[in-house]
Symmetry: C2
Subunit: 245 residues, 2 copies
């Protein structure tokens, strides 16, 4: 499995992905799930994929191939909406080529993607793209998307992230959300890719590879659990339940 | 969907279930998912079910029918292990009768159950019973089971619950776990059933129906979110991420 989250804030965009892929628990590997298409000063597009790795990699390869070909591509599309359509179209090509063959082996065509970024002349935008090549866009009411193993890490995001949230706070929230996911699910794991993009900067602000040696994530891992336990113990217990025998 | 959690502690057992069932978002109803088989001083068995309501109700009806019939039943089995086997057997009867017909309508035979309790002469025990009628037992390493929409509410349980946890603290943890689930998933809803059983009491200690008017759960709902946000803001943000423009 995978866990990726993208957040659309007034101040910019935050992307976080893990890198674990598995085909059964005895076949676990590390692959980046985040692809960056950047022309500094003109556009930055970030794509994260979840689902069957052969499918998500094929899509990314197809998108890169198109960069050098005639027709629309991620360096030529005029805005993020057209980028999402282009990715949807390419995904449908992958589906047309591979889905039936995969189906014969009982493999579902189930990839999903988060696309975010900004293109000169447009605002920063964030999309979630489904297996069928259709997609939805984040709004101020729901300023984030998750793909993959999303549920463990959703409650903290629901409670903290607003469009006004600062980039560093949002990055912290994404990392806490990832920590909760990693703790509860073996199939999500380090290293992580954390990418930050400021609104109107039109370039990647920071792109950090977080592995087991990262002091900040290590602090999150130990102190968040502690903070949760403290918050837990600070709340009163139900009086109608006996505290001991 | 459903969310149920059962916890096996040194001090006793805690059971919590929601009561929402749905067949699509336009058909939502309230049904109890917790059944109690009690002979005060001799045995208490608590069964919670998730999955297709027609299946889980049929199982409970069958179990109640057997109480008056020849052969093993939940009032005659000598220990919880035999109770789990009996429930598994009855579930296989339901499967034999209904699974094929359901399958023709595209309905999966997917129920799951948590069984816990104590029978005189045995220690308190907790089981999770699968659709196939097989089951596993909770241990000191994993002293709880969840069924249904389990992921949202798992991180807090993983961080707090130990066999030594007090009953009132465990009840609080179960309710926080339920709150996180209800917030993130429309298909889990009030009222809740919270049942507490002390070790060796061989009777139900308390059984509380928690609805929207319950002051304690209301406090949990407002204060836990606040506590989480406070804990969040108390942690430092990553320094390498810009805090603002």
């Amino acid at each position: 499995m995978t866990y990726c989250v993208g957040m659309l804030l007034d101040a910019g965009l935050v992307f976080l992905s893990d890198s674990r892929t598995n085909a059964g628990v005895d076949h676990i590997n590390t692959f980046r799930k985040m692809s960056v298409f950047e022309r500094p000063g003109e556009r930055v597009l970030v794509l994260m994929g979840a689902g069957n790795l052969a499918i998500t990699q094929t899509l990314v390869n197809l998108l890169r191939e198109r960069l050098a070909a005639e027709g629309p591509n991620l360096y030529s599309v005029p805005n993020l909406f057209e980028a999402a359509r282009h990715i949807g179209d390419c995904l449908r090509e992958v589906h047309a080529r591979d889905a039936e063959a995969l189906n014969e082996f009982g493999i579902e065509f189930n990839p999903s993607f988060i696309l975010g970024g900004q293109i000169l002349g447009d605002i920063p935008r964030l999309f979630q793209i489904y297996s069928a090549g259709n997609f939805i866009e984040a709004t101020r009411d729901t300023p984030y998307f998750q793909i993959g193993e999303a549920k463990y890490g959703k409650p903290i995001i629901d409670r903290v992230i607003r469009p006004e949230t600062r980039l560093d706070e949002a990055a912290k929230c994404a990392l806490i959300s990832m920590d909760s996911t990693i703790r509860s699910n073996l199939s999500v794991g380090l290293p992580l890719d954390l990418l930050i993009m400021k609104t109107n900067a039109l370039r990647v602000e920071s792109h950090t590879r977080i592995d087991a040696d990262n002091a900040y994530f290590d602090m999150i891992r130990s102190r968040w659990g502690e903070s949760l336990r403290e918050a837990f113990h600070a709340l009163p217990s139900p009086e109608w339940v006996p505290s001991a025998d």
